[in-house]
Amino acid sequence: MSEHAAQIDRHYTTTGIDSRKLGFWVLIGSESLFFGSLIATYMVYRGQSTVGPFPHGPDGLLDIPLTSVSTFVLLMSSLAMVLALHAVQVSNRRGALIWLLATALLGAGFLGFQAYEFTHFWHEGLTLDRNLFGASFFILTGFHGAHVAVGVVWLLILMTEAWRHRLPASRALSVEIAGLYWHFVDVVWIVIFTLIYLIE
């Protein structure tokens, strides 16, 4: 072996960061632009609808107290996610099961709130094809909801893995990446909640 050969094993990476994690960060960057464009569109079309229902005002549809609760639920799920990752890292299978389930349930709860909100709006006459508010609102929150739904499925799969004793501390990275995704989806919601619900 000459002085030019490197001794590297198959887990070698240049930065020392696992490639899956790095790749996921890049994907999150890409997703940021996706949601950024959706949110920007909502902002541009704010107040441009020619017919009601409108989001704010006396007959405004947006229910801020209710959505504050669902936002709180989603935030709590992030906390549960942190605890789940910790549990996996310290090989606490029971903790991992509990907190993964909790995260998934809180996420599902958020989706329940969203389902309620959507049907309520639907009955109030706000449909996809009603006006610009309906279109930009449903597409934005719908895509966010779809992300949450994918996250819930992902968490449930991880939970099954933990249940089948296949989630040792050495695989904590799988949970960490799911966590990255989950926190990202959460942060996006904070922005949506602030810009769409709180600002009139």
Binding site: H4, A6, I17, V26, S37, V150
Partner: protein, 606 residues
């Protein structure tokens, strides 16, 4: 687990799975094979897009011609643009990224080999889906820029723009996955000692390009989702009667569209930044400046989009702002050209075919660059924007810059891909036919535009007196097509030619530090990189490490059919929108998720 035992001679390629046959290509996750698939497919689409161009040129060869119906002409120019950008320009660059980048950084594969294969299959299916529209006689017909509200169902009720919106969406998925993969690969898979400032410029610009891809394509995805929902589910994002604003599409499209221009041109810059030093026998002059100007172009490329909208009436402040940013981006671009010239200055230039193409790229891109300055001035744009002058400008950039650069890459890396060089004589013929053909085609377009012919017209009146120019352009178009045929002939004639050694051109970067073509594992052992031109500094020492028998077992990812199946499901998810029902796309999406889950649990060899 696929393992190549050290005792097996590397030339024998023995391992646990077959190396030939259709199945081996369908399930391959080898970056080199995926690269060849990308390149072959893009070359096929180049012929398709070129044929479309020739048909248009026949129609325009004389005034008031009736060779094509207006609608067919509109389909052809739309598909020509869409094909050349999304099915030729981007995938051709990705083909080179795939094959060359891992070799240049001293890696055995990309970071996510299966994701890489998935990108390819999604790209292939997206391209086929888009072109399947011809079978329905309903190819997209609103231009590759698809300005709303023309694309809405009110004005385009047919299937045409459904194919377009959904097809681009599929292709965007492929591009984003590819971008994520290459960013991760370049950041994380570099050999020990391969610092950022030792990376070949091609790899550097692949990194910049990939960042542009992952950030620009999502914006297009959003714009396309709005279009798709407008067309299928009655939303009114672009329906003016409901207050939908056509500017929304224009801004979203060009916020994607201008970075896209750099996505197309930066890889070609990268190729010639590798070719020129090799054939000048001199290191790249001002490496740092070239790299930083590439990064700067990537950044400023995000702030110039509205120069595509100077005649949309954005107001004097916006026009001035975007004019300034556009002029500023000319500076790093100019710097690159000066540095290439300085690289050649004092060198010992060998006129091999890749070098000719590189020099041609500089000369022709320069032409496109300077007319870009003219177009960057908003008042001038009020005259020449949306005319054939613009067509001339961007063909000098994209044909002169991108296509010539790509062909430089073909001739340069062909021995690495297949183990033999392409013929010199036919290569020269290929080059000169290209230069003559493209200048005959695109040079007169400058005048045609200045003399009042707008773009995207299926005919023009005789009174404009532009028949001669147009006829010359048509003849030039056929000469250009002939050049492509000469290239194909060269490929056929050169098959099985003299075996090339690891480094037939005397290149400096690591892709030349392995056999031609490389073994599946690329390098017997990973070399330690100690300089920017490792092969010029220590060729013997490095080759001793990287070729020959692997000193220890090498783990390679298993072949997998999940990429193909997942790609089919992703394509189906979008294609099923055409049913006009809400649940089939959801079924497609659920199937995609299912595939992804199966994929995650497949043993990979990693």
């Amino acid at each position: 687990m696929a393992t190549i035992e050290a005792s097996v001679p590397s030339g024998a390629h023995a391992s646990s799975h077959p190396k030939t046959g259709l199945w081996s290509w369908i399930t391959t996750v080898d970056h080199k094979r995926v690269g060849i698939l990308y390149g072959a497919t893009a070359l096929f689409f180049l012929l398709v897009g070129g044929l479309e161009a020739l048909l248009m040129r026949i129609q325009l060869s004389k005034p008031e011609n009736d060779f094509l119906s207006p609608d067919l002409y509109n389909q052809l120019f739309t598909m020509h643009g869409t094909t050349m950008v999304f099915l030729v320009g981007m995938p051709m660059a990705v083909a080179f990224f795939n094959y060359i980048v891992p070799l240049q950084i001293g890696a055995r594969d990309v970071a996510f080999p299966r994701l890489n294969a998935l990108s390819y299959w999604v790209f292939l299916f997206g391209g086929l889906f888009m072109n399947a529209s011809f079978l329905f006689g309903a190819a997209p017909n609103n231009g590759w820029f698809g300005y709303a509200p023309l694309t809405g169902t009110a004005y385009s009720p047919g299937l045409n723009m459904d194919f377009w919106g959904l097809g681009l969406q599929i292709l965007g998925v492929a591009s984003i996955m590819g971008g994520v993969n290459f960013i991760t690969t370049i950041i994380n898979m570099r050999a020990p000692g391969m610092t950022y400032f030792r990376m070949p410029v091609f790899t550097h610009l692949a990194l910049v390009t990939s960042f542009l891809i992952v950030t620009a394509l999502p914006v297009l995805a959003v714009a396309l989702f709005y279009l798709t929902f407008d067309r299928f589910w009655g939303t009114q994002f672009y329906v003016t009667a409901a207050g939908g604003n056509p500017y929304l599409w224009q801004h979203l499209f060009w916020i994607f569209g201008h970075p896209e221009v750099y996505i197309l041109i930066l890889p070609a810059f990268g190729i010639i930044s590798d070719v020129i030093p090799t054939f000048s026998r001199k290191p790249l002059f001002g490496y740092a400046l070239i790299v930083f100007s590439g990064i700067l172009i990537g950044f400023i490329g995000w702030g110039v989009w509205a120069h595509h909208m100077f005649s949309t009436g954005l107001g004097p402040i916006a026009d001035a702002f975007f004019s300034v940013s556009t002029f500023i981006i000319a500076i790093p671009t100019g710097v690159k050209i000066f540095n290439w010239l300085a690289t050649m200055w004092g060198g010992s230039i060998r006129f091999e075919v890749p070098m000719l193409f590189a020099a041609g790229t500089i000369a022709m891109f320069l032409m496109g660059g300077v007319t870009g300055i003219l177009l960057g001035s908003p008042p001038v744009d009020l005259q020449v924007g949306d005319t054939y002058f613009v067509v001339a400008h961007f063909h000098y950039v994209l044909f002169g810059g991108l296509v010539l650069g790509i062909f430089s890459g073909f001739y340069y890396w062909w021995p690495k891909f297949f183990g033999y060089k392409l013929g010199h004589g036919l290569g020269l013929l290929n080059f000169w036919l290209f230069i003559i053909g493209m200048n005959m085609t695109f040079m007169p377009m400058h005048f045609v535009g200045l003399l009042g012919m707008p773009r995207r017209v299926f005919t023009y009146p005789a009174e404009l007196n532009l028949a001669t120019y147009n006829l010359v352009e048509t003849v030039g178009g056929f000469i250009t097509a002939l050049a492509v045929l000469v290239f194909l002939l060269n490929v056929l004639r050169s098959r099985g030619g003299e075996r090339a050694g690891p480094n037939p051109w005397g290149g400096f970067s690591l892709e030349w530090a392995t056999t031609s073509p490389p073994a599946e594992y690329n390098f017997s052992a990973i070399p330690i990189v100690r300089s920017r031109e490792p092969l010029w500094d220590a060729e013997e020492g490095i080759l001793a490490v990287t070729t020959g028998e692997p000193p220890e077992p090498i783990h390679l990812p298993n072949p997998s059919f999940w990429p193909l199946l997942t790609a089919a499901c992703i394509t189906a998810t979008f294609a099923l929108f055409m049913t006009n029902l809400w649940w089939p796309p959801l079924v497609g999406f659920a199937l995609t998720l299912l595939m992804a889950i199966n994929w995650a649990f497949e043993p990979t060899g990693h």
